[in-house]
Every structure is written in C-alpha cells, then in structure tokens.
Point group: C2
Chain length 222, copies 2
C-alpha cells in the first residue's frame, strides 16, 4: 500500500506513482472538468469508474498518491480534486519548451495556446532553413540550430518538441541533447536513441492514423 | 504462422495483422525513409532491429503480413519495402476527414499539410461559434454543427478529429456518430464512449506532457 504523508514533496510523491497510474490521471481530470462545468459538487470513485472505464478500486488507489481524501458516502469534492490533479500532473507549473522543425506541425504547436494551459510555454522555434531565421511564428522567434545552446541557457528550456522530417530526427535529437535539454517530445515515428538521464515521449500522430484506417477497414459497415 | 498469398486483398491481409504489429510498422517505415535518404539500397531485419529496438525475428514476422520478401544475405530492398509499408498502412489512400472544434489545436490540424502525405485530407472544420461560420481556415471552410451530416455525405468523410474543450467531447462525439462517421480521432483526454462499429483513437497530446514532466522530475540532473 502506498502512503503519502503531507510532509512529502510533490515531486517525491509523483516519483512513487507507477507510470500506468500517471497515464490514467489525465482521464480523471478530464471528467472532473466536465463535472465542474455541469456544476456537480461531489463525485464518488464509482461514478468516475463508470465514466472512464477503470475499476473503482484502481481509481481510489491512483488517487491515494495525491494529498486528498474522499469522504464516505459523499465522495470527492470536484473542485478540490480537479485542482489537486492539475497540480500533481505539473499543469500549474511553468515549463519552457522549444520546437525544432518549424514546418506545418511545428508551426501548429507554436500556435497552440492550449499547451500553456497545460504548463508548457514554447519560447522559440529552430529550423535549418535560413529563410525562417529571424522570423516570428505566433509571436515566437525562429533561430538557426547553432543558437540552441544559448537560448536553452537563457530561457532555462527543459523540453524540446521534435517536428522535423523523420530522416533528420536522430541528428536533431543529438543537437538537442548537446544543448543540454533533458526531455524530448518526439512527434516523428523515428525511434530516437537518447543518452542516460534524457526522457523521450513519443507522440507519433501520423502512426495513429494507420491504426484508425485499419479499424475502419475491419469494422462492419452500418 | 501467418501466410499471405498474393490473391488476398490488402484489407484482408491488414485485418490479420495484430494491432501491436500494426503499431510497429510505422517505426520500420520511418527507418526505411531515413535509409532511402542516405541512398542505402538493401537492409536486413537485423539492421532494422538494431535501429528500432525490436527483435529481428519479430520484425520478420511483422513484415510477413506484407506481400514482400527479403533475400538471403542481401535483405529487403529499401525502396520496395518503403513503398509496400506506406501502401499497407493506408498512407497512399485518400481518406477525407473533418476537424470538429476550430480552436488553436483544430486550426493547427487544418493547417498541417503533413496529414495529406499520410492519407488524410481535412475537407472542412466545424464549430459552435457562429463567428467562425463561413470563414476559411487554411483554405478549408468552417461550418456550424447542423451542416455536418450533409458535408459528411457530400465528401464521403470517414474520420473526424475531435479538438473541442474536454467538457464538450462526448456531446460532440454523439453528433459526429449521428452524422454517420465511423472513426473518431480524439485529441481530448476525455474517454469517449462510442457505439458499436465506431473506431476511436486517442491522441491526447496534453496527457503526454504530464508523463514528460514526471520523467524530468525523476531523472538525475547532469
């Protein structure tokens, strides 16, 4: 059983959370946001379970890592649990990020103000195309790759989104790691090799298309 | 053992492929694209294995679902395997899609011409905001929700990307299914409930941020 005295810091409590639990927390947060918009004040883990398709006992276990307790027969307070989840997930912190590869997906990420609501502020873009240097994309400057280490130091950048063509992904990841960045958000289908202590998260949206096409093929026509 | 006579159609071969294999194929494709750019002509499953971090025997098994064979000691022909993978994954077909929720992420998807290279053409956007109706986003029209069924019929739309605020996701998914769409690409962290025969693919990019923040916290500082 986990046990989370209030004295423990947020990041040490986070460190204890298994990654599958971490991946479920945003689902609970999404449902709580919906409930708040419907002016619902309390919710039981059973109700959350029915909505997100996870066992109520698992939900209670996942939420036990947060510094918040439900009350018998009343359940969790919606607003308090929503706030606790946002904070636990790091969405209330300010992380600086860069986008490497200012093509259509890269520009899109630089334009997406939704990222800020989830704790990520894109401070600059980088591209090998000289024509893009010195331009602004969604009010953020675009630099050549040789400026990366300097910008990373100046802005204390911790995360780099990789949105270059797949054949350049590994070379770009190496430049990013040389610049001192310790988290790579990889939007390409390339399996990037990282050094020890560097985190990589794959969000290969085009690969997801293949899965969808396949399911479309296999599902019976109505 | 799988067995794939040439007489079988692409979609029946695809139907036999287990989903974990399907999820790996884009990794192989990414590596082949890189090799082609480096003018490499042949590649063995051992070489692919070293690059993508999957056992060579598993790669051979995954590729056996395609109508293509490697040659002893020479391996696979890079260009031919790349073409076969693109075609098998459905990236050479034309699928029409819509974006529901023309906010920052939705507009970004409408602007992302990369989707077309992977077989998805976004033909229109939909939004509840009356101010957006009749406008163009990246040269694609934006409609009110009440026009969805008509546009879906006219353009034979098969996929809808959901990029609305999380609290509206389920209601919007219901409208999408009513309009006759059978594949939902869900960019919200909401666990959307779908009817039988409707496929859903979750690409919750903001949830991935939480995982990255956590790994950053837990990785030793250099």
């Amino acid at each position: 059983m986990s046990h989370t005295p209030a004295s423990k810091t947020l990041s040490s409590r986070r460190a204890q959370l298994p990654e599958p639990s971490l991946r479920r927390l945003p689902w609970y947060l999404a449902f709580l946001t919906t409930l708040r918009h419907e002016h619902v004040e309390h919710v039981s883990s059973t109700r959350i379970a029915a909505e997100v398709g996870v066992e109520a006992s698992q939900i209670a276990k996942d939420l036990s890592f947060l510094d918040i307790r439900g009350k018998t027969r009343i359940g969790y307070e919606v607003a308090a649990l929503e706030t606790a989840l946002r904070s636990f997930l790091g969405f209330n912190e300010a992380h600086n990020g860069i986008v490497v590869g200012v093509g259509s997906l890269g520009s899109a990420l630089m334009a997406d103000r939704g990222l800020q609501r989830y704790g990520l502020d894109i401070v600059a873009g980088f591209d090998i195309n000289p024509a893009l240097r010195g331009t602004l994309v969604s009010a953020r400057p675009v630099y050549g790759m040789e400026r990366m280490a300097e910008i990373v130091r100046t802005w204390d950048v911790s995360i780099a989104a990789v949105t270059v063509p797949v054949e350049n992904a590994q070379a770009v990841a190496d430049i990013i790691m040389d610049a001192g960045i310790r988290a790579i958000w990889n939007f390409t289908p390339c399996r990037i090799r990282v050094r020890e202590g560097v985190a990589v998260q794959n969000t290969s949206i085009y690969s997801h298309l293949a899965v969808m096409y396949n399911r479309l093929d296999n599902s019976p026509k109505p």
